[in-house]
């Protein structure tokens, strides 16, 4: 397993973590909302599954923040001693700590996206669900590049989720569903850009900014849902 992670320019080391923390907060907000509604009506298991999916996704971003923060801290220390002074750098994480954190980030992200996907496709069979999760996890471990494998699978799952939401919008004509679909399209685009940042490190900045737009759209969607219900009163 190759855990080579690609980073952006050094001036962006820090602001990117704020974007990821904001994204994790949006996901946690949705998770809490789903859990609150599940407590009211526990017959709807989709609410519980939504809570689990969003918790996995939020946890994934928290793991990313910890991983990258550790790397930035290490790089900062190296720069202090003038051992290296690179604008763009690549980390070959031999350290078990980085490997473990990266794997937690990737695996929890993929599981979260797959749970959300399985809610939308109404996947009923638990064995099918577990088998697919196994395949997702094994794809990270056995791929030649865990980084590329993770972002490629995330891209495919995100775009599938966006398409399902768009189909739901066509069926139910709820404007918020269209916005949720748009946010997942934007998030899938950010995954596509993450895939190619090895070509040009500044693309990492672009990917993070696109991700920020995606999560802002998701936050607006949730706010609209909660406010729309109040207006009906």
């Amino acid at each position: 397993m190759d855990i080579t992670t690609f980073f952006g320019p050094t001036w962006f080391a820090g602001p990117d973590l704020y974007i990821d923390l904001f994204s994790a907060l949006v996901l946690a907000f949705i998770a809490i909302t789903a859990w609150k509604f599940y407590k009211i009506n526990n017959s709807n298991k989709n609410q519980r599954n939504m809570f689990i999916a969003m918790t996995f996704l939020a946890a994934s971003l928290i793991f990313k923040v910890i991983t990258y923060f550790s790397v930035y801290l290490t790089q900062y220390k190296i720069n202090m001693f003038h051992i290296a002074d690179e604008v763009v750098y690549q980390l070959q994480a031999y350290n078990n700590f980085y490997v473990a954190l990266f794997l937690l980030y990737a695996i929890s992200g993929l599981i979260g996206l797959f749970i959300l996907f399985s809610i939308l496709v109404k996947l009923k069979h638990k064995s099918m669900f577990l088998f697919t999760v196994y395949l997702l996890v094994i794809s990270i471990f056995l791929s030649t590049s865990a980084y590329l494998s993770f972002h490629l699978t995330s891209f495919i799952l995100s775009i599938a989720i966006a398409i399902f939401y768009y189909k739901n919008y066509v069926k139910n004509k709820i404007e918020v569903t269209k916005l949720i679909s748009a946010s997942f399209f934007v998030l899938s685009l950010s995954q596509a850009v993450f895939l190619i940042i090895q070509l040009l490190s500044v693309l990492y900045v672009l990917a993070e900014l696109i991700q920020l737009i995606g999560y802002i759209l998701l936050l607006i969607s949730l706010t609209m849902v909660l406010n729309y219900a109040k207006k009906k009163r």
């Binding site: 909302t33 789903a34 509604f37 009211i40 009506n41 017959s43 709807n44 989709n46 609410q47 939504m50 809610i119 939308l120 399902f164 939401y165 739901n168 139910n172 709820i174 918020v176 569903t177 949720i180 969607s221 849902v225 909660l226 729309y228 219900a229 109040k230 009906k232 009163r233």
Partner: protein, 91 residues
């Protein structure tokens, strides 16, 4: 074929029916407006009164059912939940 209403949908319909009538309604009107049989309504009403979502008052020799503040808040939560479920594809 219309989908069978679940328990939460029935409770929402009952509370909405009272709210749409300005906050108070006669029991028979509630039964018709929420499309329930007498037995069904009695069972739901008992639960909603126990939870203090609905109260009873007497007016001009008639008994009226009123929606309480707790009932208003709960109805709002149910509407939020419904919006959330429909928008996020959870229903």
């Amino acid at each position: 074929m219309p989908k069978k209403r679940d328990r939460m949908q029935i409770i929402e319909d009952m509370l909405s029916a009272i709210q749409s009538k300005g906050g108070e309604i006669k029991p028979t009107h509630l039964m018709y407006k929420s499309n329930l049989s007498h037995n069904q309504m009695s069972s739901y009403l008992e639960e909603l009164i126990e939870k203090e979502f609905i109260g009873k008052i007497a007016k001009k020799n008639y008994e009226y059912l009123i929606i309480t503040d707790r009932g208003h808040k709960f109805l709002n939560k149910l509407r939020e939940m419904k919006e959330f479920e429909e928008s996020f594809g959870l229903s």
